[in-house]
Symmetry: C2
Subunit: 165 residues, 2 copies
Amino acid sequence: MASVRRELQTERGTLEEIERAIMQISWLAQRQFMQLLDDERFRLTLPQFYTLIHLQHVGEECKMSDLADATHQSAASLTGVVDRLVEKQLIERSRHKHDRRQVMVCITARGIALISEIRHARREQMQMALGQLSEDEVDTFQLILDQVLAGMQRVTEYGENRRLA
Amino acid sequence: MASVRRELQTERGTLEEIERAIMQISWLAQRQFMQLLDDERFRLTLPQFYTLIHLQHVGEECKMSDLADATHQSAASLTGVVDRLVEKQLIERSRHKHDRRQVMVCITARGIALISEIRHARREQMQMALGQLSEDEVDTFQLILDQVLAGMQRVTEYGENRRLA
DNA sequence: TGATATACTCAATACTGTTGAATATCTACA
DNA sequence: TGTAGATATTCAACAGTATTGAGTATATCA
């Protein structure tokens, strides 16, 4: 941590370059993925996809509020997203057995199948994007990405804590 | 390129991990940045910001259709985005001198100042996200990111070419 | 001059995001 | 037991953005 701080003070270029690159990649990645998801086979939006994939990842039924936290959406907008996924029969809504205030959501077999199709379609794009990297670079990249992801999750938590204060 | 293809066939885990990490980082980065831009000081949306920052980057007036291409938005939605930026006096619209069909857009001093403020606010988040990386890792990360960005831009171009065919 | 191409905007519709209010249900305490 | 307060979710109203296709203005070329 200290090393980056120091570098930031003395030579601010690299960090700004990375910031710029991450922003551009994020924007581009979302745009490209949005277009892929708009294909007639899928007809999903980004929030719908990220909601669906989280449900597939946890593998069991999930509380609305937990789902909202995990996908970084407000409970209010998640309601609409879930409405549309239920309509497409990709997920199912139910009530918690004991606490009937809680709405539980679960991915269907159809939802799992769709995600698998999307991942397959996505692979072609990823191969092209990462095609110029050597094997070593791919490995290094993965390690660094994991750390960046962890760092970004810290930012989110910090922001939430600060909001409470 | 060949090396990644080969690895994909033999051991598909790494590439999928990277795919997952890039998707998560993109989603998270956009969400976090969205919240930052929603601050009362800025009140911008993501499309508005990326449009503004492209205008600042080119530094001179820019045709609507070029701006749409560069920011990966349709001409139709860009019209609305530009409307709102003009309303906030962050950019200005004018007509091309010779070809009066073309609408030219240019960032104002106020727009430049706002971007500078946003960058400054963003820096805190980035420091926290990248804080765990060593200096070497930061340098390596930057080099790899540039290649990934180039790769992703190839994907976009490929997609556009294929759409024409 | 008239036909066609180009550049952009507009209109209708769908989805997502925000806020704050409304509803239902649970919990705890007198 | 009954009721106040906490919790979980939805709803309603509104703004922004994406998509499509139609409409308008201007330019170009025969």
